[in-house]
Symmetry: C2
Subunit: 394 residues, 2 copies
Amino acid sequence: MAVKFADRMENLKASEIRELLKLTEKPEVISFAGGLPAPELFPVEEMKEVAIKVLEEGGKQALQYAATEGFIPLRKAIANRMNTKFNTDVTYENILITSGSQQGLDFSGKIFLNEGDVVLCESPSYLGALNAFKAYGPKFIEVPTDENGMIMEELEKILETTENVKMIYVIPDFQNPTGRTWPVERRKKFMEIINKYEIPVLEDNPYGELRFEGEILPSLKAMDEKGLVIFLGSFSKIFCPGFRIGWVAANKEILEKYIMIKQSADLQTSTVGQREVAKFMEIYDLDAHVEKIKDVYRKRRNLMLETMKAEFPEGLKYTYPEGGLFTWVELPSNIDAKDVMAKCLENNVAFVPGGSFFPNGGKDNTFRLNYSNMTEERIVDGVKRLAKVLKEFI
Amino acid sequence: MAVKFADRMENLKASEIRELLKLTEKPEVISFAGGLPAPELFPVEEMKEVAIKVLEEGGKQALQYAATEGFIPLRKAIANRMNTKFNTDVTYENILITSGSQQGLDFSGKIFLNEGDVVLCESPSYLGALNAFKAYGPKFIEVPTDENGMIMEELEKILETTENVKMIYVIPDFQNPTGRTWPVERRKKFMEIINKYEIPVLEDNPYGELRFEGEILPSLKAMDEKGLVIFLGSFSKIFCPGFRIGWVAANKEILEKYIMIKQSADLQTSTVGQREVAKFMEIYDLDAHVEKIKDVYRKRRNLMLETMKAEFPEGLKYTYPEGGLFTWVELPSNIDAKDVMAKCLENNVAFVPGGSFFPNGGKDNTFRLNYSNMTEERIVDGVKRLAKVLKEFI
């Protein structure tokens, strides 16, 4: 066959991790690999009532085509929620409904990136975002991080000396993969720098509401004076991912580009799905639901971290996440987490090796652990198995 | 603000038609402009039962993340249906579920097109596809058509003399915008040519099942010996569009690329939406539902065409579609359909001027009429109003 694909397809390889995740699907494997929410928390009974109500109150509209921008009551509910939770000042006209926040990542690449343009990101950063951007052929520059997230002095150094920086991609709250959170001071400093250089910021915030201790921190979008911050939100972690409903919040000039791209990409997100999420928020208490999720995840985090402390070999570094879904482990530099993973699979426990989270490679001595998707019993059991394998390596 | 967008954004303009469609949304306007199915045919009651069943039988799975490829029972049902209706020979492993077939169009551009590559299409062709491809910066070459669709001698001439043809986009059944269908002989000739030049073909087939008279014609995919045809299907016109569920059917080597792109674009299509469509097909009779749709649309087509014949000024050319949603009118070459449209809006009747369906411009003396979305009474009334305006111009 003489079929020729576009050059961009060479940037994309079948994800190693996707192949690996397939191996972890056997029921006997205790998997800390994925980023799945706990399905036992999904409001299944409530959604039956919601589905009926949506079809009874406007079945014809729910099953028909609708506006690209999204269902206005849902956009309004999202704007209100953002303003309440994250201190922003947006209206529904700043909101585009997307098919999960992953779609917002892809659109951002499409809107901002020519081949060879520079994207800055935290080192490490979310693999799914890096893959979405790769289709547009950018160069990645990784900004060094510490236990408080991106290091602002390093960011400034890079901006001073780099041309063609078209976009900065960050996850300031309970970052994927590290679980780290930027303190308020660092957020302020970041926005000072951004305002100086006037570069669009993609603030990816799927986990911000899942804070186990203390107050939710103000989002970058809340400090955005020049309309440079594009906020990506999602219902996947605070409600459920099966509807694939997320959103982009941006100033109108920028949002207009996202709407145009959405129109050509898939016309609109599911009408019935949008109406169901809006209806759930109308007749149930999403805040109460989020509290339930937090209670369960807090316990799981505690248990995972306690078991790690008790069982892991001495001297390993790992993050203590204040929310979200992940912790991040650093092994001695001579150990490749992929080798550890191979051994772990033999013992029916799994995680994601960290190397893929560094767009320019390296740091193969790291790995990510998820604690949201396994029961407490399996968490203890799995961490013990993992610790046993680690002791063989160290 | 110093924000710089990607160069590709210059290829995209806010759609004229989108702006125009907004003007047609007032209830007093009789609109033949959109391509919306008749909402009174949507199976609202049935979908209540379906929604409950999906949540009762597997609520946790329905609300969770799922495989990028799609829900296997839905992929199987689609493969079976394609083989039965369109004479293909595919299995579920040839099927990727997409967010409407619009997403399949966008992915095709992403997978095949470098900037400056050539896309062949019928002249005129579906505007939404052209817009999706435009984001990847191709050149369009329009293959001349007659009342039986693409002219094969013209296609051959173009292929003989053109380099870098990366993709041929066609709608052989009840084409949007013209309503024309390619006879079997022409399909065979097309596949002969394609097999010689080995160029991927995008066969867009959202309307094929909506044939009002005679037998469904075999799809190009059914005659595809070399795995060159990529078939795009959709539930939007045979079921309802609100779920945004379509599919790509292709050979495995090509489908693997679509799966990779789907993964980075939005991970997967709505889990619950996919399960609901599959459940509807399992417990209800989609064939019977399609018959109901055809009965209604056949009457509407008849009525529209009869009224056009009785009321339109002498000598206008228009297609007599054997199925689908549209007819296509050609005015004398000195009349611009946009001027007619402006006058029509004053009289509360609307259509889509044809110029935008020609990627390289021209043919402003054409327009598209939709007959699926208006009641019989409004069809007669609207065509009369339209005829009155046309008589002022001719």
